[in-house]
């Protein structure tokens, strides 16, 4: 005997009540069998399925209200039409109060946008863990400070990132440490890398062979470093970054095991690193297996290379344990090194161990704190004005709510349109806010100063957005629903004059709240204005600082001379002679020269010297100190640094001629006060040199920094190893037109002299100068925008509060007028309110600004953080704009027609 489709039966039975199963399924089955006989099994099965579905569907729907299925339909339709009505109601209410609705949406947009980007930035830059296994166990080890003994720093190559360098002596000792493992030195270097595309300067990191193992990274292709790569007789080995492999070598598969020419030395390509370890910097192209020689303890450190290092804490060890051990290592070095104790040669190294995460975030932190503080202020201003607007909207609705309650509407019924209204506002605000945040995060990196370059990696943080939205929604809906819940159960009393007075009292308390909120806004506007003002003054001062060179019409390029090839002085000077001769032939070129240190670069060499005829200082600290810069004859003219006295260098200052030097005015002031330095001789590197000129002081480290004394030497009179520094040195060219227009010519000239020497860091000197105060510009821009925003918002607040107050007191003003009060009296009444509000806000704002100004101090230049002029200007501006905003409602109050207002009640 055939049975109905078992699946259909089971499915149907699941959907029916137990008491329905028997007869319904039974009936179906009975009919099924009849149909099998008549139409065949397959047709019957199809029929059974169809009927089962119809039965389950129809039954489950209608069974709920057996008494009246029609009733159910009505209920649904009623609910839907009510909802539609509520939406329409909400929409109409929004349109009716368009102004405040739009302000609320915009305010919400600003609030959400700013808060989301702020949290995204904080999350992205400060809180995000490093993308390596157990990131909290990674530490950086560096020398805390290098003592200023005369020879200690003389030949240490200066690296772009400061923060101390670890002596390689110490690395040898740390290798046996118990609290840290995998100690790996690293250094950031620029190298000339030759590929099919030509020779280019690339950012490379020389790292210990344990580097990748320490960070827990895997190869994408080939292998990473192995211990043998560090061996003295091993071939130079390199690991490519994924980006370099993809962009420069076009993802070629056969790359592993081939060679890559770096600084004209073939390096074996071991493999490609997976992803991109963003260490020590984000855009490393190559990692070269470091092959530092480790002098034994006791060797003089003078000519050693000093490196920072990273390591992993041993299991169970803390940062404090490691620091403790580092101090012992320092003591060991001191004990093993003769001459350390008397302080004449080198100082006892002090090691600093810090979590890598903190160390990387460290330089960004103060800037982010300032940025965060400014954003938080705007956020508060926006949030306050949001609450304010919603309060205003809700007080305006009291009467409507009272009427609707009285007419018998339920609480939920009158709440619903309000809720929908808030949802509409919040929805629009949320959408706007997320768009604003996306925009901010996209635009901000373009303005961000160099130390905030990590901003480019910050992504929209959805979690932050959801969190901020939830807070804003709760707040918005809470305040928005107030009018529906504030009123007592519906009674006509609310519409009677007495009831209105009662509403009035409630309105008054809301008024007081609004007033307080506007005061807060005024205060914060003052704070932001003070910040913006201080930075504006800083910018103004900076624009008037003489950098000591002429930035416009000058271009500088760095030259990556491979040290190995250009070790001989003749080869190096030959190269520069050829390039500079070629450059001089260009019609636009006024002057060209080479220097071991271009302006606005870290100084390659600094150290002590002595002045002929003066007693030799007793202690290292008392030696005169100066930065030492080797230049060619045309260099000072090329950067536009004038010779104030004496003469500049010329082609006659050759290696065979008398040793000469030019000092800058800062050195002259400090070491030759009241004397004529020209003609005197100084001793440097055991050679006497005659001072032939005094040059204007250059702001080598940026406009905000103090001048360091500088001695210029003719490059022909310096040993080659010191005459040029590939990290900081290069060529400067002064032109009659656009300086960047001669860059192709410079490149050609360099290529003609030596095709393997890369040119990099091409920039007009003016742009480089502007880059040095990009932080100030960035914060001035941001604070300026924020301040404008805050002032606008608080002015709107002042206006709103006053306009409403005037509206509410129409009757009172009318009465006063009728009783003979004159216009000025009424004007006084109104303006007094505003004056109090602004005065309190301004005082509070000045106090907050005074307390918070310290945050800005590191960015300020030429202006005190508590500059009274800026403070009073900010207060005056806010007061004037506030009074201006108040004048409109005040005018309206004056014009109240007594007859009309008296009739109205």
């Amino acid at each position: 005997m055939t049975t109905p489709p078992r699946l259909a039966v089971r499915w149907l039975e699941r959907r029916l009540n137990p008491d329905e199963r028997q007869d319904l399924v039974g009936d179906l089955t009975e009919q099924f069998h009849a149909r099998v006989a008549r139409h065949g099994r397959r047709a019957a099965a199809r029929w059974f399925w169809r009927e089962s579905l119809a039965l389950a569907w129809g039954f489950s729907w209608r069974r709920r209200d057996v008494v009246s299925a029609a009733h159910e339909r009505v209920r649904v339709r009623w609910f839907l039409s009510n909802a539609a009505m509520d939406w329409r109601h909400a929409w109409r209410a929004l349109r009716a109060s368009r102004g405040s609705a739009i302000s609320a949406m915009l305010t919400l947009t600003v609030t959400l946008g700013l808060a989301t980007s702020l949290f995204s930035v904080t999350n992205g830059l400060l809180l995000r863990p490093l993308p390596y296994p157990a990131p909290d166990r990674l530490v950086r080890l560096a020398e805390a400070e290098i003592d200023r003994s005369p020879y200690a720093t003389s030949f240490a190559p200066v690296m772009p990132e400061s923060g101390g360098r670890l002596s390689d002596v110490a690395i040898g000792l740390f290798a046996s440490a118990t609290t840290i493992t995998h100690l790996t030195p690293y250094s950031l270097v620029g190298r000339a890398v030759t590929t099919a595309a030509g020779t280019e300067q690339r950012v490379c990191a020389e790292v210990g062979v344990g580097f990748f193992e320490l960070l827990g990274l895997q190869p994408e292709r080939g292998r990473l470093f192995i211990a043998a790569d560090a061996g003295a007789d091993a071939a130079p080995t390199v690991v490519l970054s994924e980006t370099f492999w993809r962009d420069v070598l076009e993802s070629r598969d056969d790359i592993v095991g081939t060679t890559l020419v770096i600084d004209q030395v073939p390096h074996m390509i071991a493999g490609v690193a997976d992803g991109s370890p963003r260490f020590p910097e984000a855009d490393i192209d190559l990692w070269i297996a470091g092959r530092w020689r480790w002098p034994s303890p006791g060797a003089r450190r003078n000519f050693s290379m000093w490196l920072p290092a990273i390591a992993r804490l041993a299991p169970g060890a803390t940062v404090e344990d490691a620091s403790q051990e580092a101090r012992q290592v320092g003591a060991m070095i001191a004990a093993a090194t003769p001459g350390l104790a008397d302080g004449t040669d080198v100082a006892v190294p002090v090691f600093r161990i810090r979590p890598l995460q903190d160390d990387l975030a460290q330089p960004v932190r103060p800037a982010l704190v300032a940025l965060g503080a400014a954003m938080s202020l705007v956020l508060i201003v926006a949030a306050v004005s949001l609450v304010n607007l919603l309060l205003a909207r809700s007080t305006a609705r009291h009467r409507e709510m009272a009427v609707r309650l009285t007419l018998g509407a339920g609480r939920w019924r009158i709440t619903r349109p309000l809720l929908f209204e808030q949802i509409l506002i919040a929805g629009a605000g949320g959408l706007g806010g997320s768009l604003l945040a996306l925009w901010i995060l996209r635009v901000m990196p373009a303005f961000a100063p160099g130390d905030l370059s990590g901003l480019a990696d910050v992504r929209f943080d959805t979690a932050s957005f959801l969190f901020v939205s939830a807070v804003a929604l709760t707040l918005g809906i809470g305040v928005g629903l107030l009018p529906a819940w504030q009123l007592p159960a519906g009674s006509l009393r609310d519409l009677s004059p007495a009831g209105r007075a009662m509403i009035g009292r409630r309105v008054v308390s809301a008024e007081a709240a609004r007033r307080a909120l506007v005061t807060v806004q005024v205060a914060l506007a003052v704070v932001l204005l003070v910040g913006a003002g201080l930075l504006a003054r800083t910018m103004w001062t900076l624009s008037r600082v003489d950098p000591g060179f002429e930035g416009e019409h000058a271009v500088t390029v760095k030259i990556g001379l491979p040290e190995l090839i250009f070790r001989e002085p003749e080869r190096q000077s030959g190269f520069f002679d050829q390039v500079l001769t070629r450059l001089a032939q260009h019609p636009d070129v006024i002057a060209a020269g080479a220097s071991s240190t271009l302006p606005l670069n870290p100084v390659g060499m600094s150290g002590s010297f002595t002045i002929e005829g003066r007693p030799r200082p007793a202690t290292p600290e008392e030696f005169p100190r100066a930065n030492k810069v080797a230049v060619t004859a045309g260099y000072l003219q090329a950067v536009g640094t004038p010779i104030l006295e004496g003469r500049g260098f010329s082609d006659e200052d050759t290696a065979a001629a008398e040793r000469v030097a030019i000092i800058d005015e800062s050195l002259a002031r400090r070491y030759f006060p009241g004397e004529q330095p020209i003609g005197q001789r100084i001793e440097y590197l055991r050679e006497m040199r005659r001072i032939v000129g005094i040059a204007r002081a250059i702001k080598q480290r940026g406009l905000t920094e103090q001048d360091d004394p500088v001695i210029y030497f003719p490059s022909a009179q310096m040993p080659a190893v010191m005459a040029f520094n590939r990290l900081t040195g290069g060529i400067a060219v002064r032109t009659s037109g656009d300086p960047l227009a001669v860059v192709p010519f410079i490149r050609t000239a360099v290529r003609e002299a030596d095709a393997t020497v890369p040119v990099h860091a091409v920039a007009s000197l003016g742009d480089r100068l502007r880059d040095t105060y990009s932080s100030q510009r960035f914060y001035a821009l941001i604070l300026g925008m924020f301040a404008v925003l805050a002032v606008v918002v608080s002015v709107l607040g002042v206006y709103g509060v006053l306009a409403y107050a005037v509206e509410r007191r129409q009757a009172e003003f009318g009465l006063r007028r009728a009783l003979g009060g004159d216009e000025r009296h009424i004007l006084g009444l109104v303006l007094r309110q505003v004056a109090v509000l602004i005065a309190v806000g301004a005082v509070a704002g000045s106090i907050i600004a005074g307390l918070g100004a310290g945050l800005l101090r590191s960015l300020l230049f030429g202006v005190d953080a508590l500059d009274p002029a800026t403070f009073s200007a900010a207060v005056t501006l806010v007061a004037c704009v506030g009074l201006l905003a108040a004048s409109v409602p005040a005018w309206r109050a004056m014009r109240v027609d007594p007859a009309r207002t008296l009739r109205a009640d």
């Binding site: 007869d23 399924v25 039974g26 009936d27 089955t29 009975e30 039965l55 129809g58 069974r63």
Partner: protein, 111 residues
């Protein structure tokens, strides 16, 4: 005078029960309505009408015997109550009164 009449399906179900000697179960009721009205009736609406009529007291029901062709499931027999019969009669009379005096010609104009 009863305040409420019956829906069409309820009317059909009661009439079918009457035709089936006052007591029957789902399958004959469905078939009776289908053959008599020459319409496809929706199965759920018939069952729902039966339950609704039961809740109004117009029919009563009891579980009957199980048969093999029903897969061993019991039938539910519905029986017309006296109130049900009276309601059906009233509805019939109401219809008849409504139709009284209407000629085929007037029926055409109604169209």
């Amino acid at each position: 005078m009863p305040r409420e009449g019956m829906g069409e399906i309820e009317h059909f179900v009661l009439a079918a029960l009457l035709r089936l000697d006052g007591e029957s179960y789902g399958v004959p009721i469905l078939e009776e309505i289908a053959t008599r009205t020459e319409r496809a009736v929706s199965r759920p609406s018939v069952y729902i009408a039966l339950r609704r009529l039961e809740s109004k007291g117009l029919v009563t029901s009891r579980l009957g015997e199980a048969t093999p062709e029903r897969g061993g499931r019991a039938k539910r027999y519905f029986r017309l109550t006296r109130a049900g019969a009276r309601q059906l009669e009233q509805t019939r009379l109401a219809f008849e009164r409504m139709w009284q005096g209407l000629t085929p010609a007037s029926r055409r104009t109604a169209r």
